[in-house]
Amino acid sequence: MGKVTAKSPIAVRVAALAICAGVGALLARAVLAIPETEPGLAPLVDANLAVSGVKNAVTAVLLNFRGYDTLLEIAVLVLATIGVLSLSVTQTGTWDPIAAQADPVLSALARFLAPVMILVSGYLLWAGEHAPGGAFQAGSVLGAAGVLLALSGYARPIWVSRFALRAAISVGFVVFLATAIGEMLAGGLLLEYPADLAKTLMLVVETWLTVSIGAILISLFIASASPAEELRRRSGGGE
Amino acid sequence: MTWETTALVIAVTAPFVTAVLIFALGERRDAARSGVNLAGAALTVAAVVTAAGAAVAGAPDAYPTAGIALLDIGFGLRADLLGVLFAVIAGVLWLITTVYAIGYMSRASDRARFFGFFSVCVGSAIGIALSANLLTFFIFYETLTLATYPLVVHSGTPAALKGGRTYLTYALPAGGALAVGVVWLNLLTGPVEFAAGGSLDPALATTHPGSLVAIFALLMLGLGVKAALFPLHGWLPAAMVAPAPVSALLHAVAVVKAGVFGIARVVLEVYGPLGPELGVTQALAVVAGFTIIFGSVRALAQDDFKKRLAFSTVAQLSYITLGVALASPIAVAGGIAHLAHHAAMKITMFFTAGAVAEEVKAYRVSEFDGLGRRMPLTMAAFSLAAIGIVGVPPVAGFTSKWLLGIGSIDAGSGWVIAVLGISSVLNAAYFFPIIHRAWFRTPKPEWAHGPAAGRPEGDMRMIVPLVITAAIGLAMGVFAGMDLSPASWAQTIAGWEFPW
């Protein structure tokens, strides 16, 4: 196995240093010149918070005012997952349970932690409406729970079929899109939530996003894992 | 759209449509391809003649026109007298050449490619003839440059590919120069339409003389390559690796005359009186005069038959350029008439070269001893054309040279007479030995009794066209005085070109 050298040749380093010094100087000058008080869009956000359907300003920006950014961001996430799957050896994202060393301690821990994490995830999802939180935080915890389960050999039953995996990965984006298109069909513009339905719709979207984000994070983890036989080979063929 | 306008559009588009159909038919469907090709050529001739009729009827200010918007100039077509003269020549000779080429190429490979690009070339040449402005002209001019390449390299031999490279090395930088010249001129004056008597504002001669001279130089650099002006002529002999029909129609008529035709458009219908005023046409005349002598001298030294013809073409093209540059109506008439006359005669000669090469595998002048016995019709046609080029009456060449001579005196450029004289002697010196060898030298034994009994002297699809073109050459001279002969047509055009 070829070992990668730790450092580049001196000429490269000197050049890099010069470039970095230049960029650094430019940046420092620029950030210090930023006006001390510039309210930005904060007043505008405040003024419209009441009609946004949520109480937390950041959530309002993310899901309503700049919901389009979030829609595309979910697209990035789904896209990256498809990309990772396309690179994984098995290309399916299904977990090979033999690779997981069923450790009794880990297993017990997982059994205890996983339900708690799922609960925490639900709370974060709900809290996002008025406090920091939301689908991403919730999805991350959900994903972590999944990774934990996978590491302890429980993940296998989750992915009953390839279609289920694909559905879980894309459901958040699809629901988000469907909501957006539904609003258009109802006479509004893309992502224009009717004031009375805004909260409900956002919660629906957030919920499915949580599921997808969890599934995506698990898939990212699992898809990058080496297949069992490679692990065996590397550890010297012994089991 | 009036009937005349339709004819104008068809004249330009028919060859391109023919090309597309030929490509689509592919390699194996020979009969269908020949049918499409002949039908396309015939349609083109009909359309061109219709447009020509309208031009004659409508001159000087009711020419059929058509166009679409493009940039600030427009992509425009117009059937004026000068244009339809060239278009008729290209169209009619295409029809004849198609027959010849079907015979010549019958055993060659890649026929679809050959006939397809051939049609594109002819379409471009007719487009050049019927362009209403410099932009449209340039578009067709460069299309012609590109479409000729596959024909030059058609045989695919290393020599052919090398000839193709040489051709591009000359033609593409020339295109670049032409492009800059055209853009610059358009910027200086606004859209440059062709108009009898010149389209430039005379005031520009005092406000922007330097730019106008530079632009003229760029344009001549671009057009001079195809017109084979010295020192831009080098590609023409190299391009003789192409199959005979290409040398005949393209390298004696369509491509090279696109160059001189462009010079005529620029000198007469863009610069007009500004040319002599700025002194640029005088310079052009000197270059043309030198090219005439140079080409003729080089032709003398060639043993390769096609190369001798090629250098002869270099010299003859400059007759036209010279006539156009002399700023005298009579000389201009001579030059334009020579455009037609030389076309008929030189195509005959290249047809001969192809027929001889196919039939008896003779490529060099030194192999022509007694060829007149073996291929009497062919060599008779060749001799007639050669006599015409030398300028012996009553064949066509005489008329144009006569007009050129008188025109030069009219323009006060007596030195041109000397050039014409020397060149005629040189023409005789490189053509008469061929005629002498063919008819008066002892033939090879197998040629002594003519073609084998009961067989014609060659593929009749090749012999008949060259006899016809020779006859056309003769007729142009004999009937030069008639109303619609190229000579009187040229004089009419020259009349319009000189309102000043």
């Binding site: 430019l26 950014d69 595309l72 559905a167 894309s170 984006f173 992502l191 | 918007a69 940039l71 340039f138």
Partner: protein, 496 residues
């Protein structure tokens, strides 16, 4: 219905491929192909309608979420946008048709369809976005889908090329995002229309623009930051190569033009545009020479992209002075992007056909191609006409406008570069095309005896694109008019 479509048009243009993408993933290989084709076909009328609407009504503004900038995000469509969407849609359709034949039903390439649809949607989103932060997300979407597509074959060279591309792309995005942060810090908005009014040429503003420019130049692969492009574009599967060279590099270029000519025009400093112009000129010369020296067809075509990108950057010095020269440069630069997109995709698709059928793309081994694969040879040759910028191709009209602009602005040296670049292009194009007419070489044996002639859809997709690029020079006037619709003030000659 018609009224609804008219109202929702900008959103629909983005949503069609974005809806198709997850569906193509969800439903798997067989459906992925059909969904991609449906999406491609649906996009055609939408893109045309978008262009027509812009011509009729001028700039379109679609307020996503109903908020409107600067609070919300606007989709903005002017002539430039409509042209880019149109060319993306047209190239996209033919690449899709080609890919149907190229990838067939092979399970291995099932990820192509969702990734390609994501890329397509991202490009549309990018062209329509009127918000510089939203553009960051679009840039990332474009880059990531493009990188994933490059690595699709899982060949070593492709993976390493994808990695190099990925690192360059992320770094470029980060530079861009840092610039966005500074812009927001200094001017309090990320909405382009608002910024146009408030942007000043102060320390922060200049630094922000400099950072964004570096990032976008890296993503556009302008010399000398082009190092990642040739391996990525040549090692990708050919339909992907076509999209990368034709469309993806133009995405970041598009933002660069928006920023300089449209948003930050008040702080345009001639020095920077000259630097961009000089780098562009160097790219033209250097890229062409490198292209000429390549042994593999796809590498040659990739270096040709490096060179052709150079022309795009001549736009910057030529618009700086305003007036007619700016308008001509604007038309010329954008028209070049369009005709290059058509021609370059045709070239890569043709190269892909060669590679798929004969198992190699060594230039020395392509003698006699015009006999073995006449349609493909013709497609490549016709596309070459646009590369050279000869009439009647679209490249000619673009170069015509650029030469015009440089003579008008008195900076004739740009015209010299344009002409020289055309001649160098002729050198590398004919280095390939010349031997097509030569004697056949043994290397042109079908790689797989069962392969037979390529599917006609593949060959004709390339040919149609090449013909499109070719006739653009004659029928291109409507496109030139479209480019000028609601053009930025600097270009339209209006002083605000």
């Amino acid at each position: 219905m018609a009224e609804w479509i008219a109202r929702q048009l900008p959103a629909l243009v983005v949503l069609v491929p974005f809806t198709a993408a997850p569906l193509a993933y969800l439903l798997g290989t067989g459906f992925g192909r059909q969904i991609a084709l449906i999406s491609a076909l649906l996009s055609q009328p939408l893109a045309i309608l978008l262009a027509v609407t812009v011509v009729r009504e001028g700039e379109l503004r679609y307020e996503v979420g109903g908020w409107g900038g600067p609070l919300g995000i606007d989709l903005v469509v002017d002539g430039f946008t409509a042209v880019m969407v149109l060319v993306t849609t047209v190239v996209g359709l033919f690449v899709t048709v080609y890919a149907l034949g190229y990838f067939g039903n092979r399970e291995r390439y099932r990820f192509f369809w969702p990734l390609w649809l994501f890329l397509w949607g991202s490009l549309h989103a990018l062209f329509l976005s009127g918000d510089i932060f939203n553009l960051y997300v679009c840039l990332e979407l474009v880059s990531m889908s493009a990188v994933a597509l490059v690595g699709l074959t899982l060949r070593r060279e492709a993976l390493v090329a994808a990695m190099r591309y990925m690192l360059a792309a992320i770094l470029g995005s980060l530079f861009y995002l840092l610039g966005v942060a500074l812009i927001y810090g200094a001017f309090g908005s990320v909405d382009m229309q608002t910024l146009r009014e408030v942007v000043r040429s102060d320390t922060t503003g200049q630094a922000a623009l400099a950072l964004m420019t570096v990032g976008l130049v890296l993503k556009t692969a302008l010399f000398p930051l082009h190092f990642w492009l040739p391996p990525a574009h040549s090692n990708a599967p050919s339909p992907v190569s076509a999209v990368l060279s034709a469309l993806v590099v133009k995405g970041s270029f598009y933002i660069l033009v928006r920023l300089w000519v449209d948003v930050a025009e008040p702080m345009a400093f001639p020095g920077v545009s000259t630097v961009l112009g000089v780098l562009g000129s160097t790219a033209i010369i250097w890229g062409s020479i490198q292209a000429f020296r390549q042994q593999r067809l796809k590498m040659l075509v990739a270096y040709s992209t490096v060179a052709q990108i150079g022309y795009l950057f001549l736009l910057f010095p030529l618009v700086t002075g305003g007036g007619q020269a700016a308008a001509d440069a604007w038309m010329g630069g954008i028209f070049h992007a369009v005709s290059h997109a058509l021609a370059k995709s045709a070239m890569f698709l043709a190269a892909g056909t060669v590679l798929a059928r004969f198992g190699h793309d060594r230039i020395d081994g392509l003698g006699g191609l015009s006999r073995r694969a006449p349609v493909t040879a013709m497609a490549f040759g016709l596309a070459g006409v646009t590369m050279m910028g000869l009439p009647p191709s679209g490249g000619f009209v673009a170069k015509w406008q650029m030469i015009r602009a440089s003579i008008e602005s008195g900076e004739w040296w740009w015209a010299a570069v344009v002409v020289t670049g055309g001649l160098l292009a002729a050198a590398y194009v004919f280095r390939v095309v010349g031997p097509f007419f030569g004697r056949e070489v043994d290397d042109l044996d079908d790689a797989d005896l069962n392969a037979g002639p390529s599917p006609w859809t593949m060959e004709s997709a390339a040919l149609v694109l090449a013909i499109g690029a070719l006739v653009l020079g004659i029928v291109g006037q409507p496109l030139l008019d479209l480019i000028m619709v609601s053009a930025p003030a600097l270009v339209a000659g209006v002083t605000p």
